[in-house]
């Protein structure tokens, strides 16, 4: 296994090298003059020349690449052209934690929603619940990220009554489902289970009403850092809508994949034997079927975590959050501040490659068939 991981790491080296090369040269093709971007249009020719020399733009391409990658390896990504006194490393290290928090929260929401959805859909394959889930995921996959973000912003910020009552309806429906389950089990089940379902229903109603009464208001723009003195609650409030936006498409892909894997697993002999032993559906689904069905979900979760880090550009732009994506677009691409673009793209690409490597490694670790092979 160590050898396998070593091989994967070795394959990573040329890819990372080419990634850095591509980042460096794509941006180097920019037609605009970096000196002009730094000083504005009103400086004299001598001043432009001085800046060009200071930036080392008169050196050869190879020299400049070696110089850039050399300092990048020591954590120095150069200076911003336009924001004087800021190094790119500083700017990125301010922005990266925000982007990471959004990506992680988005993925947690997606897993939290898609696990139960996929399990119910797989268990009741072909029924109305399953078809509803299929339609829902097909719709979620087709919503472009920025549209989902604007829709959520419109509903939660400008029409807060709509999500508030939707929440009430959803909570009451779930509670009703729990009471119905309790009622159906009165005759044929142990009394303890009935009491448990009634209790769960009451808790669901309580939580629903509590949130309904204190429905939080979400900010349209801005972000409160986790470390700021305004506290964790403000941070979560400002991160909720962006994270929900990220999770929409993930909910769809996670649910689809897990559903089809679960359906395949539920055909296996060991599920039949568990049923024959009289195990409850809950035990079969959560304890027996979920684990062997979750391998490809883990792979996908890793891949889409990498995607989410790249995709936060959109979300950050909608909700006015100063993460890495917005840094690249608003401070890099639009004003032509190329060290920021180079540094930002390099950091995200390296992150993406490393996350994908970790996913491959975890896959090897989790699935014994690959480990031996």
């Amino acid at each position: 296994m160590a050898r396998m991981i070593g091989l994967r790491l070795l394959k990573l080296v040329p890819v990372l090298f080419l990634v850095s090369l591509a980042t460096f040269f794509i941006v180097d093709l920019v037609p605009g003059d970096p000196a002009r971007a730094a000083l504005g249009p009103d400086a004299t020719e001598a001043q432009y020349e001085a800046v060009r020399q200071e930036l080392g733009l008169d050196a050869s391409l190879v020299e400049r690449y070696v110089d850039w990658i050399g300092s990048a390896l020591t954590g120095d990504l150069g200076n911003s052209l336009i924001k004087p006194g800021f190094t790119v490393t500083e700017l990125i290290s301010l922005a990266l934690p925000i982007t990471l928090q959004l990506a992680i929260m988005g993925m947690l929401i997606a897993l939290f929603v898609s696990l139960p959805l996929a399990i119910v859909a797989a268990y009741r394959e072909g029924t109305a619940v399953d078809r509803f889930t299929n339609g829902l995921t097909a719709a979620f996959i087709s919503i472009p990220g920025f549209l989902a973000g604007l829709l959520l912003a419109y509903l939660f910020v400008f029409q807060p009554e709509v999500p508030r009552y939707a929440w009430l309806a959803l909570g009451l429906a779930v509670a009703c489902g729990m009471f119905l389950t309790a009622a159906r089990r009165v005759g044929d089940d142990l009394g303890r289970n009935v009491a448990l379902w009634i209790l769960a229903g009451l808790v669901a109603i309580g939580v629903t009403l509590l949130v309904f009464a204190n429905f939080p208001s979400f900010p349209r723009t801005g972000f409160v850092r986790l470390t700021s003195e305004r506290g964790v609650l403000d941070n979560l409030r400002s991160a909720f809508l962006p994270a929900l936006t990220i999770s929409i498409s993930q909910i769809a892909v996670f649910t689809r994949l897990l559903r089809s894997d679960l359906i395949a697993t539920l055909q296996e002999d060991f599920i039949l034997s568990a049923k024959a032993k009289g195990m409850t559906p809950r035990h079969i689904l959560w304890r027996e079927a979920l684990r062997p069905s979750s391998f490809s979900l883990i792979t996908l979760a890793g891949v889409s975590f990498g995607n989410a880090i790249g995709g936060t550009v959109i979300v950050e732009s909608i909700f006015g959050i100063q993460g890495v994506g917005r840094l690249i677009v608003n401070d890099g691409v639009i004003p032509g501040d190329y060290p920021i673009v180079q540094g930002g793209v390099l950091v995200i690409a390296v992150f993406y490659v490393v996350v994908n490597l970790l996913v491959d490694v975890s896959y090897v670790y989790l699935d014994p068939r690959i480990r031996r092979g």
Binding site: K11, P14, V15, L16, L18, V19, A22, T23, I26, V27, L29, V30, P31, A138, A139, I141, S142, I143, P144, G145, F146, L147, L150, L151, A153, Y154, V157, F158, Q159, V162, G306, N307, I309, G310, G311, V313, I314, S317, I318, G325, I328, V329, G332, V333, I334, G336, Y338, V341, V345, I348, A349, Y352, V353
Partner: protein
């Protein structure tokens, strides 16, 4: 019985569009009820008349796509209100709400430009860009993939590393880096998107080639003395093309969203050329007062992407041997 839902739904929809004027939420809710009823009505009628396994949603999706393509192609012949040049709309009402029975059926934006016209011209840009990109991507990526899959060895290893590199960039970040370097226009955006699609097509073509290269007809061609160029072009490419093309619908959907995302971020195709992305971006400042400027183009884009995905799923199931084997 269920067929009655069609006229019933049509009446409900008509009430929502014409008779009720306020509030918007009620209108939308009633309209959705009407549309759903119409869908089930059409479904019932088609299942009765054509065949019990008629896939209504697929044919409706295909119909929508045909409609979008036709509108985009014949946009110049349609009696549309001005949608591109704000200097011609000075006398028109701005921020008009959608009203299907007026001269601006889908409303106007803050510059009094017609949204229906913008959506149709935007469809033209989206289709142009994504079709050019898919064509270029299929041809280049497909040829690279077939060649490297046939010869294997060092060439295959090198191509593998290159595709890994291109795929190492998150798609949007990759596009951002490319558009930093070039002026955004239909051609440059198309080529940037093609570059995004090439590694995917290369992988698909390579995987399919590996399967076909083992088959007897390739061996027979080689035994007859065919040169590698002939085997690739006459034996492998015709077989690989179909599974490759079956992914086109889904990739077009992805590219439409990618193009719109770039326009939305303000680094894609710029006004006065309307695109779905830049129309949505222009409206997001007044999201609270005139949400239709954002959500009308948004809805058209959502429906188009949804239909492309639906048709693409069916195309893949029908044409991709790996999919149909499952």
């Amino acid at each position: 019985m269920a067929a009655l839902l069609l006229p019933l739904g049509a009446v409900v929809l008509w009430i929502a569009l014409g008779a009720i004027t306020d509030p918007t939420a009620l209108r939308l809710a009633v309209a959705v009820v009407g549309l759903v009823a119409m869908y089930f009505g059409i479904d019932a009628i088609a299942k009765r008349l054509v065949s019990p396994t008629f896939e209504t949603d697929f044919w409706l999706s295909a119909g929508w796509l045909v409609l979008v393509v036709l509108l985009a192609v014949f946009a110049d012949l349609l009696p549309l209100a001005e949608a591109r040049d704000p200097s011609l709309t000075l006398t028109q009402p701005s921020r008009e709400r959608p009203d299907l029975f007026s001269s601006h059926p889908l409303g106007t934006d803050s510059q009094a430009l017609d949204i229906l016209g913008g959506v149709i011209y935007g469809a033209r840009v989206s289709l142009q860009v994504s079709l050019i990109a898919v064509t270029v991507g299929t041809v280049i990526g497909g040829l690279i993939g077939v060649t490297s899959g046939y010869f294997r060895g060092k060439l295959d290893g090198g191509v593998g590393i290159l595709t890994d590199t291109l795929l190492a960039f998150p798609p949007l970040i990759f596009l951002l880096a490319v558009v930093t370097a070039f002026e955004p226009g239909v051609i440059t955006i198309s080529l940037a998107l093609a570059l995004l699609g090439i590694p995917t097509y290369t992988r698909l073509a390579r995987a399919n080639t590996l399967a076909f290269a083992q088959r007897e007809f390739v061996l027979a061609a080689r035994a007859l003395g065919a040169k590698p160029g002939r085997i690739i072009l006459r034996e492998l490419v015709p077989n690989v093309v179909r599974p490759l093309l079956s992914y086109s619908f889904i990739i077009v959907a992805v590219l439409i969203v990618a193009e719109a995302s770039l326009s939305f971020l303000g680094v894609g195709i710029q006004r006065p050329t309307p695109t779905w992305g830049n129309m949505i971006a222009a409206g997001q400042g007044q999201l609270e007062t005139t949400p239709h400027v954002v959500f009308v183009p948004g809805a058209v884009m959502f429906i188009t992407v949804f239909c492309l995905n639906r048709v693409g799923d069916k195309a893949r199931a029908a044409w991709d041997p790996k999919q149909s084997a499952l």
